[in-house]
Symmetry: none
Subunit: 211 residues, 4 copies
DNA sequence: AATGAATGAGGTTTCATTCAT
DNA sequence: CATGAATGAAACCTCATTCAT
């Protein structure tokens, strides 16, 4: 039995604790995208969430805790993406992946998304608690990615080499966010063609013991 | 060449203006890597540089100017890298590039380097002045990269497609910095093998008009 | 009328927002008279108001806003003065004006008042925002003064000349504040006699086309 | 024997100590008119005087001493003005005075002049050293003014009343500087007519024991 | 439980003054 | 003597956090 529940009377039911946390997180996201972690003040967040400053402290111990929760939240999105692929039969998998590229480009080149991700990564680069969250999420993501690669490339032998291949694919997707900053006006049409070709190779190219 | 000069006597010569600027930039770098741009206070920087706060303002108009100088400084490094390649004869170029991969990995996976770069990029994502510097540098880098690609792949027709290929190569290098945060303990040996293989393909794979 | 209200219990009621603004303005006035606008630091003002520095910024956007509020506050005093004269019947107006001279002298020769006014004017001489406030107030004051002159001197024809006469009367009152600095120990009794005589002439002397 | 003198050789002779002081004062004046006493930094002044900061401290103990010297300098101007009048024969005196009005208006309504004067007066209102200088200058000015009044109005009996009359005339001139701030766009033509008429009255109106 | 006013340390920046060269 | 780089105190302002109401 939680503290929410029991509407019944005329007043609107109090939202659950989790719902309010989410509400705060979403407000924070909007603020952070606008001004970065350090630029977003608790007052901004409170105003954006239409709450008082004080109440935020009932849901999060401090500002850092909000940041950590935001980072953790990204997991959900990522899992959803992989779940979609998992539901795709092997013979259509490559096709679906290539179709995904268009959305991936749009998503990664969206300044809002990349700005936030870079903010998080820069924070992770020096805040061990954030780093731990990012890395934990990444472990999960790699595991899911490994499954995908195995389905596409059953003949791959050495798991270390396959992991490396996965890393490289990861680099391309992650690097897209940096390219979005450094060269926001890329020709996305040409990029899409190029990426589809390269991805096809990356997902299917046989392993090859170096030298 | 500069206005200082004339050491010779027992006293240590006054360092040149440029030397002091570099001194401040290096101190700032150490602080920024430790705590980020916003986390590094002018007092921290001054302490790190063993200077008074005020003197820093004789060399930089404000904190943002230091950031800009740091970003601009990266240009020199990048140019040096391309200059090295430019001096390499065509027949050895691919070989040298592949050898470079090892250093690239070491460099990008060095937390000091990637933390700083991400900091800069996150700042660029919101600060138009920093964005302008980053993008100007990138234009130059792309131009140099284009030259490299043309030497390696003279048969490439559509320049848009070749630029896209260059973007993708850029994604891999840029993305490496993010992977360095998300998965710092990658098996670098396997990664090196994989990257060499992939790069060889990327640099030489013929263009291919989609669908 | 305001949002506070409900004292009644033993605890002291929270002062209204407006009351706190006034409290800050009064503290600022004391500081400014002591050390001028630039000499009065926010820390001084906070100490004088027995508040923390930060709280002042909840009531005023910045130091300049406090200055502007002080200037604006003077308007109220000025309007009250004219309102008093407006309520006086024509036949007693000159008499009341001459009686006012004594208070005017006391007011303008009070170092507190003149120091503040000069501070404001010096600021207005350089700060366009303050100048705008001062000039807006003056427009209003001239309009009121014009009405007064018309009542005292209905035969005055050329409005430009009457305005000039008003300007000259203004010079005398404004100049008094400067004399208060340059010669604080004037014989005020003699001054009062002289001013009454001069004012009577100024208010009633017929216009006279030049030469 | 002072430290200047002895040019003779090919190099340009070193300016006298007094000349350099004047040079600094003039540079300071330009700075102060531009930005006020507090706004004019020693660095600004040094740059304006084309000197190094350090050398200024060989001529003035500190910034306040420069301010004091500027105030004291105004004496010279004022004395020159009275000297001109002293040289005028009685029968033309009033005429010359009235002619002076036009220059007086132009001078007092010049924002540069009034801004500086108000700056000085505001400073005098709280800095006893500056107040002393201002007041000493005023004593001298009043003495000269008294002579002028006596020449124009030999029948005036009570010296206290005559001094009061002088004060009032002073108010008009001083007040003009404040009007220049509060109402910079006065109709100066009309003002000139009005002032001439009023001045004529003020300089010649017989004394009159009040009530 | 919710509010939002208050705190005050700490941020960036300026500048009068000194002093080694 | 002149220089101008260096100092460091102090200016204004912000904001995470607390707590009386």
């Amino acid at each position: 039995m939680t503290t929410d529940a029991l509407p019944a009377d005329g007043t609107k039911p109090r939202p659950s604790r989790e719902a309010r946390r989410q509400h705060i997180l979403e407000a924070t996201l909007r603020c952070v995208r606008r001004s970065g972690f350090h630029g977003a003040s608790m007052a901004d967040i409170a105003a954006e969430a239409k709450m008082s400053v004080g109440v935020i402290y009932r849901y999060f111990a401090n500002k850092e805790a909000i940041i950590e929760a935001i980072v953790a939240n990204d997991l959900a999105e990522m899992r959803a993406k992989f779940a979609e692929w998992d539901a795709t039969p092997d013979e259509r998998l490559m096709e679906v992946l290539l179709e995904t590229m268009e959305h991936a480009i749009a998503h990664k080149y969206d300044p809002d998304n990349s700005a936030l991700a870079l903010e998080v990564l820069a924070e992770a680069a020096r805040n061990p608690r954030v780093a731990a969250i990012v890395q934990a999420a990444d472990i999960e993501e790699r595991e899911l990615g490994r499954g995908l690669c195995r389905r596409l490339n059953p003949g791959f032998g050495d798991p270390a080499l396959m992991d490396a291949r996965g890393e490289i694919i990861g680099m391309i997707f992650d690097g897209m966010m940096i390219r979005a900053i450094s060269n926001p006006h890329t020709d996305r049409k040409a990029l899409l063609l190029g990426l589809r070709q390269v991805m096809q190779v990356l997902f299917t190219m046989p392993e090859c013991r170096g030298d």
